[in-house]
Symmetry: C2
Subunit: 225 residues, 2 copies
Amino acid sequence: MPDTLYSWPDALTRGVFLTIEGIEGVGKSTAVHYIRDYLLALKKDFILTREPGGTKLAEAIRELLLRPDPHEIMTREAELLLMFASRAQHIANVILPALQAGKWVVSDRFLDASYAYQGGGRKIDTARIDMLTQWIVGNVKPTLTILLDADPAVGLARAKNRGPQDRIEQEKIDFFERVRNGYLVCAKQDPTRFHIINANQPLEKVQDELKKILDLLITRPDSDS
Amino acid sequence: MPDTLYSWPDALTRGVFLTIEGIEGVGKSTAVHYIRDYLLALKKDFILTREPGGTKLAEAIRELLLRPDPHEIMTREAELLLMFASRAQHIANVILPALQAGKWVVSDRFLDASYAYQGGGRKIDTARIDMLTQWIVGNVKPTLTILLDADPAVGLARAKNRGPQDRIEQEKIDFFERVRNGYLVCAKQDPTRFHIINANQPLEKVQDELKKILDLLITRPDSDS
């Protein structure tokens, strides 16, 4: 069978694929807003998107994933398969067309979240996730991934102030400790792609680091945008 | 990684898992009604269920799978992953508990439909489906599968009389020819499990054959129900 669905190397040389990862309450939304303003100021052609989600069907799958249902336990297998079903739609209909058109794609979470949440958090064997990754994601890996890292206790306290908790946010602290650790394992395995920012720092310090990373990305040798 | 999620052999010796397969319009619903009346008459403890579906979440996934959306193409990969996400819920929350309680489970479509529709119809490599089957279904294979087989032209004409067509029913005749062929390949690979009924015959003849199959199943040596 073919190794991958997509001929990503063509797209890689044109667009820039930036993903923001991290557990609940670490400031992902604020970081995405900062990146948006940065790209707007430079008049870059970009799209903001998110996972799970990014297309109408993928957003409907997101609803199923996040809606708490006291009457039915979602198996971890269904959770992982729904994530990758939404990802297949997101890549084929949004991410790849934008990259092939030479745009920047900025996504609030992407593939690493499956390793962190379903691998680390739910303890699904990484080999299962590798198998789905090889099939559904292929070479459509982010150019650069920013991991906002903080103690789950701090993040969850922030997230709780935002209103009713979704199905994932209802998990206990040890779940989020495994998720955080899962992210750190991803970062260790791919240190050139990952930039870790300590999200416990004051906002200005976080944004200083974001700016440095974006300045480097903008001027990277293989960037034609 | 473990070969399977479930310890099915325990369940196999207790319940009976009967699946009804076939393309649109071959009379699956009529067959399921006939089987229901047969089991009721014998005072068997049974449940009727269906795929995709069978749990609240799985039925919500069914909605996503069948709803036509002119604005977004569903990738065949998302379609297959959604099928197996709903199947994971169906097996864990409905099929396995019923079998372990010694019940009969009668399902309007199950695993073979993924090989027929996503493998045959959508031309997804069978190795992909095998991989998901080994992981999500494991040994939870039907005791017996009845395949209602008919020329797609006949079945589709019947299905069209039932009202608005869903996303799958909107496919063209060559799609259903590949699906039918996919089912026949499944049957050829597992001839002891499959019973093929020619669905072009008059209803009474179909029901005669159904009765013969059920009579045999009821009296099989390893049945304790």
